[in-house]
């Protein structure tokens, strides 16, 4: 059975005012215009991935990091407040499947993996900050790179 995380969050933080989760009614939707094998795909993880000497994330930090698509595993680190990061530190592909996406590019499953990939620390309570500060910067990045499809992995 899927875990119900909204009640679980309420129990875990029972000493605090219950968090008001975002509940949307409408759903924006853009159809995929061509097969995924013809698409340039960008990857983003909220798992707090860092490349080489990039600074770590702080509380309510809506900044993001650009991760070169050819980054090696030993050049990546993980910093996040909201989940146990031991497995992601051992193998970032658990939440940031960069190596798998590179394989799919080489094999033609996708036409191209966009460079760079992106990472942020998804444990941000302010939905407004995510929507109005972080998301528009990502839109600009994706448009500048002429990305056809965007693949997001939470952690």
């Amino acid at each position: 059975m899927p875990v119900e995380y909204i009640p679980r969050t309420r129990e875990l933080y029972s000493d605090f005012t219950p968090y008001r989760w975002v509940v949307n009614e409408d759903i924006p939707f853009t159809p995929l215009r061509k097969p995924i094998s013809d698409c340039k795909v960008a990857l983003m993880s909220s798992g707090g991935i860092l490349y080489r000497d990039q600074p770590r994330f702080h509380r309510e930090d809506a900044s993001y990091r650009r991760i070169p698509k050819n980054a090696r595993r030993d050049e990546l680190d993980v910093w996040h407040f909201g989940y146990p990061t031991n497995d992601a530190k051992a193998d970032p592909n658990c939440v940031f499947p960069l190596e798998r996406m590179r394989e799919f590019e080489a094999e033609g499953v996708i036409r191209e993996l966009s460079d760079p990939a992106f990472s942020f620390m998804g444990g941000i309570y302010s939905a407004r900050k995510v929507r109005d500060v972080l998301a528009p910067q990502i839109v600009d990045e994706l448009k500048a790179a002429h990305v056809d499809a965007f693949y997001l992995v939470p952690a």
Binding site: E11, T30, P55, F150
Partner: protein, 125 residues
């Protein structure tokens, strides 16, 4: 919280005319925020594209996600993948995101030191 953040970004990107797909292990949060397209894997938080050092499993999950880009036609549709974390022991479902589940956070001093070491390591190269 990660699931809400990812869903919010996907919605803004989708409004800007680029199709998106979100992985999820938290169905209730993804359904509330209404991500445009999602693929569900019933794994503990921190493993949305698989277990560490199991590239074949990771490949199958990510490959299924790429396929879902094409098969999802209805806004808000969520494709559920059949992978099982542990067929015998499902106790992780009780523990995930409950009290005592999150390891204690390092102190600011320890985090600063760790970061300084990492930065020095790469600056030297």
């Amino acid at each position: 919280m990660c699931h809400q953040s990812v869903g919010l970004i996907a919605r803004v990107v989708e409004e800007a005319g680029i199709p998106t797909l979100c992985m999820t292990s938290a169905l209730d949060i993804t359904q509330a925020v209404k991500a445009p397209r999602a693929v569900f894997v019933n794994f503990p938080l921190g493993h949305q594209t698989g277990k560490p050092n199991q590239p074949e499993l990771q490949r199958r999950i990510v490959c299924d996600a790429m396929a879902a880009f094409e098969t999802i036609k209805r806004p808000g549709e969520i494709v559920c993948l059949p992978y099982v974390w542990d067929p015998i022991d499902r106790s992780w479902e009780e523990r995930d995101y409950s009290k005592g589940w999150m390891p204690e956070r390092p102190s600011r001093q320890d985090a600063d030191r760790e970061e300084a070491e990492r930065r020095a390591r790469f600056a030297a190269k």
